[in-house]
């Protein structure tokens, strides 16, 4: 029953599937943000990307500061719990070193765009944006009259990225992908995108996936490449594997605030490294040990039953 393995290295997956000018979504809401993929895109010096993400987070501050993107589609632009994304702000406020085109929504607007994209719908209605200035600065947010006589409602168009990069706890070699913890919009963006790279902590046997099918969020039929890369989300996190590195998020503020410090960080932690393994080694084992969960919190198990 097993199909063709899609397992690839991060280098090869990005080289084959992420192209200059693409619209790329590295999603994950606080949880499961694949920083290692962002670093690889920087190392391969992609350019003119349109980056989509609900919360650009530090990963897009790094990528946009590194110059891989010319446009950002988003709904909340900040360093969560800390403050600003200074590299992105420099580009928006001072066009330094280059202008950045922006297109912004609310969170539900972004989720609705991915949902319309995933379902191949022409638009998606939502109860938002009334008496707000957001539609004034983004003419893709419009209002239509309900054909059923319920009055006007805001609508947003589908978002269909060229590439989605989704991190998950595990997948099999065909890309059948399982996630637990915060789900974000991982499923919606994967189904909406033309090409999908799944990055996982562990590639598992197909029998592991089949033993718990309710936990499968993305089927392999949507996936082009499976990259096994532990710790790929740092400083974001993977539920049950490693904690969010809040100290890094706090430290990022000072790094990104100064363009020279930012450039030095990129050199030391991205350009001068070849793979994410180098990044892991550079931090050292003790660093990673400190980010492990403090204990187990196992789910119960359920009985799916045999029906031979």
């Amino acid at each position: 029953m097993s199909g063709v393995s899609k397992v690839a290295t991060m280098h090869d997956a990005v080289a084959a599937l992420v192209r200059d000018g693409d619209t790329v979504a590295i999603e994950g809401f606080t949880h499961l943000i694949c920083f290692a993929a962002g670093h690889e895109i920087i190392r391969q010096r992609r350019k003119d990307l349109t980056l989509a993400r609900m919360t650009p987070d530090v990963v897009y501050d790094q990528m946009i500061g590194a110059g891989v993107a010319s446009k950002l589609i988003f709904s909340w632009l900040g360093n969560p719990g800390v403050g600003s994304l200074h590299a992105i702000r420099r580009r928006i406020e001072k066009s330094n070193p280059a202008p950045l085109e922006i297109e912004e929504y609310s969170h539900f607007g972004m989720v609705s765009r991915y949902t319309a994209g995933a379902a191949r719908l022409p638009f998606f209605p939502l109860r938002s944006y009334e008496d707000s200035d957001i539609p004034r600065v983004n003419d893709k947010i419009r209002r239509v009259d309900s054909p059923y006589g319920d009055g006007p409602i805001a609508v947003v168009p589908p978002l269909n990225p060229d590439v989605a990069i989704i991190h998950a706890q595990r997948a099999d070699e065909e890309g059948n992908t399982q996630i637990w913890g915060l789900l974000g919009s991982q499923k919606e963006v994967a189904f909406a995108s033309e090409r999908v790279i799944v990055v996982v902590e562990e590639v598992v046997d197909a029998s592991v996936v089949r033993a718990d099918p309710n936990r499968t969020v993305i089927p392999g039929i949507k996936v082009d490449a499976v990259v096994e890369q532990p710790l790929a989300c740092h400083p974001s996190y993977v539920q049950g594997y490693y904690d969010r590195d809040n100290r890094f998020y706090l430290a990022w503020d000072a790094i990104a605030r100064d363009a020279e410090v930012f450039d030095q960080w990129l050199k030391d932690w991205v350009y001068d490294l070849t793979t994410h393994e180098d990044y892991i080694e550079k931090f050292g084992d003790a660093y990673w040990d400190a980010l492990r969960p403090t204990g187990e919190a196992l789910s119960g198990s359920v009985d799916y039953g045999q029906y031979a």
Partner: protein, 258 residues
Amino acid sequence: MSGDEQGFTPNEMMITQSARWLEGEKICFVGVGMPNIAVNLAKRTVSPDIQMVYEAGVFGAEPARLPLSIGDPTLVTGAIAVMSQFDLFAFYLQAGLIDVGFLQGAEIDRYGNLNTTVIGSYESPKVRLPGSGGACEIAINARRVFVIMPQKQRSFVEKIAFQTSPGHLADREAEAARDWIGEGPYVVITDLGEYRFDEDSGEMMLVSMHPGVTLEDIRANTGWEMKVAPDLQITPAPSADELRLIREELDPEGIYSR
């Protein structure tokens, strides 16, 4: 100004007073920082059965530590439900299941309109702020909005630079005709006082000043002529028990409360 000489900080006053307003509320959409501490304080005092909802996609969270971000893994472990963000925004928030949503802003006007987008012009901003996040739909779909933010001349302004999230309308008939699930801003709690919205004008009105604060302090930190309730109160200071919970259990490092 209230302060340490009175045995509590302005932030502790804001947190405590926000928690008191949660008495009787059942389902609360929580943000990080002071709202998170306020809801956890309410859970330990006036509202033990309150359910915490986080926009990351969690219902019924039981955080074992103070989360720095709204997507902390401690919100997941032990929660009642974890769901996609579509489910959260569509089935919980838009469908009217959220009793209280907390919002804040860089700027607020007398009607409770909030700006979290830009200072200066949108096209060439002086300061680019985070934007809406879920704020715009929370403002419209949460049954009540609690605003918790520090009060300054530059934040309580006559005219906000960008209207990210809507508040009340001066045209009371137009507001009644909105047909939203939410009734909009319900209470505003700052480091100086507490404000409600006048039924007749839709305008913010000072109803209570925190201990040690004067009307001159309020006026000096408001960019318009603030209405004052005829029966202006003095906010009760945080109790010893409220302060102990904040300092020993909820924010022992004082990240948000000192």
